[in-house]
Amino acid sequence: MNVEYINPFIKSTINALSTMAFVNPQRSKLYIKTDFEQTSDISGTIGLAGEATGFVTINFPEKIALTIVSNMLGEQMKNITPVVKDAVGEIANMIAGGAKGELIEKGYSFKISLPVVSIGKNHYTNYAKENPCIVIPFIIPEGEFTVDVVLSRTVNIA
């Protein structure tokens, strides 16, 4: 598995959540996503388009989303509200944007979209099958969450 484009997403996820939500996620073993294997309660997706295209999605169980957003805002979140939805979108934005700077240097140049947030108990995010979706699992004391990365170059770099 070519993971040269994965490390920037791992770093940016840890950086975003440790700086803004004061948690220290530990990465677990990467795997390739297969249908309906991995679901979540709230997810934030950013589209990546340019010389490289793809998606990055952060998938949270409700409990972890509430913990992280409570930490970010210094206020206890008890349910998934528009505030939590907005915060999850912003986390996805920080992960994609943080990885972008390093990926440009590796020949993956892209622009990032505005975030799309999906809510629903045990929902599943599906991507086109042309490229594999690599799942990065992270563990914090409250449980596990994942980051999906689908990325491919559309322009060959000499």
């Binding site: 912003e90 944007g97 505005l114």
Partner: protein
């Protein structure tokens, strides 16, 4: 000292406003995008703007401010997730005075404010 925070994310506006308050700056107004902010610049001393926003993005907003007669000299700090060197150069060329990549700490925000106010 009056500030405006422009970001389409209510979470990020809240985080920035809370941080500014902790740093001793409590006269802060908000806008959800560049277009809304253009109508709120009277008496503003420092502008904080995101880049990627609907309606009017941060870069277009910065160019509009720099082209205006009344507000062209207001210091602008861009706070964005865009971390690529070409992005930073593009923003500085458009007229941004300083640049913060999200996520950020209160110390970084304070340092950047002090820098633009010294000038």
């Amino acid at each position: 000292m009056k500030f405006i925070v422009i970001d389409d994310s209510s979470t990020m506006r809240r985080i920035i406003c809370n941080t500014l308050e902790r740093l001793g700056y409590d006269d802060v107004i908000e806008a959800e995008n560049g277009l809304e902010a253009l109508g709120k610049l009277r008496d503003i001393d420092v502008i904080f703007t995101d880049w990627n926003m609907p309606e009017m993005d941060g870069l277009t907003f910065v160019k509009s401010v720099r082209a205006s007669q009344s507000f062209s000299t207001i210091p602008i700090i861009m706070i964005t997730t865009e971390s690529g060197k070409p992005d930073i150069i593009e923003a500085l060329e458009a007229g941004v005075n300083n640049y913060i990549v999200k996520p950020f700490t209160p110390e970084i925000l304070r340092e950047k404010i002090e820098k633009v106010l010294r000038k």
